[in-house]
Symmetry: C2
């Protein structure tokens, strides 16, 4: 297939039909209707609108989402607004059997699910730029900016780009992904005109990349000083002080660049249809024979919003990695996973499941008053293997490692509070299991696909 | 025993009797007599003298040595002088059945052995300070300085200090030891008056230490600028530009400080009578069960002066250590040994005799033109375990280690010339053996004591 054929094929997979568009719009209308029945009793609510990809007509199949924004009088306190959006959201979604949950981004919103469609009921202040009072106040202006500036035909390009990004694992600004938001994707298509040109430009990106669509600044130098150390800067057309791409990690940025280069080199529908590889147990047993994994698996005692959970999980992953290094292991790579409901897993691939038999133990300099004491202590110490000897000016002994097993060591460090696990997870982690057997992990059906991915650690588009 | 009793006891061990003094003097006279029979046919020889510890009457039992100095006319070329001292030395010692050998310090001299006494026949130029033409020209002035300045009673202190230093392994300026020369020991006793005071002062040393006995300089600052980065500076009374202690390593300096502190804390004859501990094979087997040693054992294809050999051996030891580290091993400590005739051994204690199963292999940054090539190369590479993935902005794969055995790895690195073994030893090393079994090494009776010492790595006075 050539490029055009691939993109046509991809559009068939991701572009909603007219009927599907209609159904989603009808659902949105129904929710607004329901919300309006309650909003009349909240005098601070000014209006209710549809925002996001539905309003902008850029949504893709499989990512249906309805974003309902409730616009509040700017004079209402933040606290009061939060109270009211929670009440209104829960009532509205309960009526529609939407299983509402309170979510926190920068401020709370209510999320539900109706016929498998994610519904967000979000509060914003009814303000004009640049008088933002909360993070969501910009959203209606984002919607309007895209509607005012994007040609009808560019919407398919947005859909292709969202699908492409999803398949290479970089779509979404949430902490789990640290990738590209829908609005950012739309701005990239606006800026580069269409999907083909965007992919070509992205394939040549070399971070840092600076894009100022609305020409808020006269020079890119000025922009780069304002947003230091960010690999991708896309100045928000509706707010010159905001980088729309601030959530994008260097890793995900690089991944998109590489995927674009690969795609241009050999366009294929496989960039839009990733096949997760699931291996047979015997195969895994064989390839893992010499490899060493240590994992921390635990159950969540209570639900929390995914962004909070992923933030805590990444922090804890880093803490486990640093602990293993401090103990003397080589850590080749680490990753985490959660079903966002019950199960969490932190995995590390390490050089060995045992520490070496000994370690160098440095004493004071020979001329230091404590050196005699050090020698007295170590000369017949049960952990002494060799020494004390002098190297440069310091005393050393070779000391036997008492505990070498990674499971026991990690367990001890966690129990004794020497691993900076995120506070919100600490109790659950303490009750968790430390595993070193991939086969044990594979027994859990939910974990299987993820564990496969971890073993492979291959970029999804290769 | 109190301090005085210990020192009396030590003197009994080390102070030669009058008869022993007489015998050594007679031997020296005999050698001079023999040398003079030849020297008449060398018109550039001005005179022949006895120097060193025999002349200064500071020698100790077990370290008998006769230093015969042949004084040359300063107008004789270096080359001619070297030729003549070699001829004269060989003839003289051959006549006395002294098995002469040509040795190199800064310039050549001839060493022999008569009735187990080491005899050195050394050339110097007959010059006055500061018109030195060669390194040995100062020696007759050192002898005279000590004879002129040292009280009769201080000689016993010198003997005690030499014995004390010998027993803690810091006596001798040769490369093997990197410790204190006889002249340096004499100067320390001159400076501190007697053994007790010297030990007390040394026990308080904190490097750098500066001593200027003849007050050549008005401030110590001036001295320290002239001899930068030296842990011990003792300005030569006969040459203000020379540090008598330049050969002393920081390690040996610290060792003497520690030994002095220990001795003062609990004076004992054991500081003058070290007992080398030789362990039973079963004991060694037990304590070495988990420990990992790799050794390089080789035979010398030709004899060379010890200072040359030890220099090459230390350089090669450092090279082996660096190679093991580069390969991925932890090296806890290293040492070398040679009988100075046939056998050499370099030993390293390491964390494991195998490398981990894998290592991280870093590729180019994702935006680099070579990154596609890297991915193509690695995606189905037989050594690939996981990856390629992106971390920060770079590509990585986890690569299987093909050879993990330390013996095979070290053998390969040596054969392929990637270990900076001293040139003079390279061919012998290539024909040598790499061993990982302490028991194999212990089979060689000559090595046994040394291997014991290596296993223990304990300061000798503890």
């Amino acid at each position: 297939m050539n490029m055009d054929e691939v993109l046509n094929e991809a559009l068939k997979l991701y572009k909603p039909t007219e009927e599907e568009e209609k159904n989603l719009s009808n659902l949105a209308e129904k929710i607004i209707h329901q919300a309006e029945r309650y909003s009349s009793s909240y005098p601070s609510i000014r209006k209710i609108t549809i925002e996001g990809s539905l309003a902008k007509k850029t949504w893709i199949k499989g990512k249906e989402e309805v974003d309902i924004f409730i616009h509040f009088n700017p004079e209402v306190s933040r606290e009061e607004m939060e109270k009211q959006i929670t009440e209104l959201g829960f009532k509205t979604l309960d009526d529609l059997d939407g299983k509402p949950r309170l979510m926190y981004a920068e401020h709370p919103y209510v999320e539900g699910r109706i016929n498998k469609v994610v519904v967000n009921i979000v509060a914003c202040y009814n303000v004009s730029p640049p008088n933002w009072l909360s993070a969501t106040d910009r959203t209606p202006y984002h919607t309007r900016y895209i509607l005012d500036n994007m040609r009808e035909e560019a919407r398919d390009s947005v859909r292709l780009m969202k699908a492409f990004m999803t398949c290479c694992g970089v779509y979404g600004a949430e902490i789990k992904v640290r990738g590209f938001s829908g609005y950012l994707t739309e701005l990239l298509i606006l800026y580069y005109e269409d999907f083909n040109k965007a992919v070509e430009e992205i394939s040549r990106w070399r971070p840092p990349i600076i894009i100022d669509i609305a020409k808020h600044y006269s020079s890119l130098d000025e922009v780069s000083k304002l947003f230091p150390n960010q690999p991708l800067i896309v100045v928000d057309p509706v707010d010159r002080y905001r980088n729309v791409a601030s959530a994008v990690s260097e890793e995900k940025l690089c991944r998109l660049v590489l995927a674009s280069r690969f795609f241009l080199k050999s366009p294929s529908i496989r960039f839009f249809k990733p096949k997760p590889r699931v291996f047979k147990r015997a195969y895994i047993k064989r390839i893992m024979k010499n490899r060493r994994i240590v994992g921390l698996s635990f159950r969540l005692s209570k639900w929390k919003p995914p962004d909070v959970l992923w933030g805590e999980l990444r922090k804890s992953e880093e803490a486990v990695k640093n602990t293993l290094k401090r103990l003397g292991f080589q850590v080749y790579r680490t990753d985490s996973w959660t079903d966002e409901e019950k199960i969490c897993l932190i995995l590390c691939e390490i050089n060995d499941d045992k520490l070496p038999y000994a370690r160098l133990h440095q004493g004071p300099p020979a001329h230091h008053p404590n050196s005699l004491e050090f020698i007295e202590k170590w000369k017949n110490h049960p952990e002494r293997l060799a020494g004390p000897w002098i190297e440069d000016s310091r005393l050393y002994v070779l000391r036997a490692e008492q505990i070498t097993d990674v499971k026991k060591l990690l367990r001890r460090e966690i129990q004794e509070g020497r691993v900076s696990i995120a506070k919100g997870l600490l109790e659950d982690v303490k009750k968790g299991k430390i595993v070193t057997s991939i086969e044990d992990l594979m027994k859990d059906g939910k974990l299987k696909a993820y564990v496969n991915e971890f073993i492979e650690a291959r970029l999804p588009f290769i």
